[in-house]
Symmetry: D2
Subunit: 178 residues, 4 copies
């Protein structure tokens, strides 16, 4: 959920208004897990964004961001995928808007999924990409991992609680969790 943190608020929302809105209603997000497919559609690798946090720690993440006012979920997916993967990734957006998982994040300390900034609800999708990914902004690298590699404790730790669960759910939904 780095887009708001990094200032990508869209033209409609001043920082003051965003502060207000975030204390009033749940904020809608999308999460997208880029994947590479084999020739029969089977998931071969998943793509995780590698970033350095402000404290210099490594973190990994899915593509993630807010759905803006007047924006469709498909447009939000397209915009965030292009923002994080570059214009040549050729993502194949889902034929159905039914997500493989719905995430709920609360600002209350102690919530199973915690987001100090806001109450967020996120719709998560698996998105096959056929082209070249050129990570941008604060992303250091796009790492492609097999399901077995993604399920190692090191990778799951770098993902943080919410995104580690999303990766497990995506692998389960595609039949590639072991």
């Amino acid at each position: 959920m780095s887009d708001i943190a990094s200032g990508d608020l869209g033209p409609w929302l001043s920082p003051e208004d965003l502060d207000l809105v975030r204390r009033k209603v749940p904020i809608l997000y999308i999460d997208a897990l880029p994947v590479r497919l084999g020739e029969r559609g089977e998931l071969e690798t998943i793509g995780l964004l590698l970033r350095a946090t402000a404290e210099g720690r490594i973190s990994r993440a899915l593509v993630s961001g807010r759905v803006l006012y007047h924006e469709t979920i498909r447009e939000a997916l397209e915009r965030h995928l292009e923002k994080d993967l570059g214009p040549m990734a050729l993502p194949q957006l889902p034929t159905s808007l039914v997500p493989f998982a719905v995430g709920e994040y609360f600002p209350t300390p102690g919530s199973p999924f915690h987001d100090p900034r806001q109450h967020a609800v996120s719709l998560a999708y698996v998105v096959p990409v056929a082209g070249d990914c050129q990570p941008r902004n604060d992303t250091l690298e796009m790492t492609w991992l097999t399901p077995a590699e993604a399920m190692t404790p090191e990778i799951l730790d770098d993902l943080g609680d919410g995104h580690a669960v999303l990766v497990k759910q995506a692998l389960a939904a595609t039949g590639t969790i072991r």
Copy 2:
């Protein structure tokens, strides 16, 4: 989406703040279709709320309403089901938060699904109810209809575009559309 129209805004949001929020971000809703099941889990009838509009016209609807700040989706489902069906309906909330459909409503005239008040995104669930439904507030009656009865043009017309599509999607997802 009658709860906001009928003033059920929750204690957190003044009318002025709601007006502001509605022009800034998508508003998250849940839709719930109450159903009666046969003894092997097959859908037998669906329950639609019957209301009179301000103009005196009959309209039908699913249970529907906003997810409040700090409220989980399960709590929102429970609250709106109790509000519309009464405390004895004994709804069986879903084991998975993955909805059978995601609806998008825009304030722009000409949108396939139109909501003049706001940009809304709705997560829709089928909810078996085992108890007695006592419709409340502005609801005249809870009508139980077989899938065949629900698919007649009269009923679909009374539902309005968005909810008619949701009923078709629910019948399709449960294998009872014909």
Copy 3:
């Protein structure tokens, strides 16, 4: 389910053995609905096979066929899609084997879905195709229809009960039923 009728039994099953098997266990099928997608993944048209029946009547169908012994569901999808659409269709097989619908067909007269030859259980998938379809064998034509065109009574009548319901379920699952 034309593959068995037209003799495509695979090398493993003699007609006598098939007759025996069909009276002993449910037979596993796949159904695939070819679709064309817009640039944001939204379903634009569906592809239906047009055939002439032995009695000279027009009928329409999804791609459909049996899963053979030792064959994966992905291999069965690939084989039947190539058989019906030709080798240049470039189908994108699903990332998940979870179907959008499960069909049950019984030889008993009066069953909601009837198959005089056997008890069949079918797993149904939406399959985007990016290439050229060259219908083969007994298929006269591949017809591309918008969701609205597919939902007309003429088309649904040509599909027969089971496949008409599958088309409705596919349009519902992709959010394009109206």
Copy 4:
């Protein structure tokens, strides 16, 4: 998949015929994971069958068994749940036949999911049970485990490859995997 091993073949299939059928076509199975739900529908515990193998080893399993000729999937679920949990379990069969996972098992050594007896395809469902479970036949005990308890290596080892993956997929689909 113990029903065939323990001789529950139904009246239609002699051992000789079953041997033949198993070498000719994929055999259709259902898997059911019994669960206990909280008052808002959230999964609290899952129920696993505890058995002693012929070699005296402990093994755990989901409810599992074959779909018979002329039997609906709902009837097969009901029959196998009653066979393994007794008549007082009060299972709530699913409203949709779309499974949370599709399993493929092959007799070929080295298959990711191996079944030495046959090529089997299994449709897996989560089934809430509200009543008392009285395990029968060769089942020693029904063990109720929280998602965290079920994900320990000891339990997953006792489940065997196929069923361990199904448990992970069920927890992922219900949003309770961590």
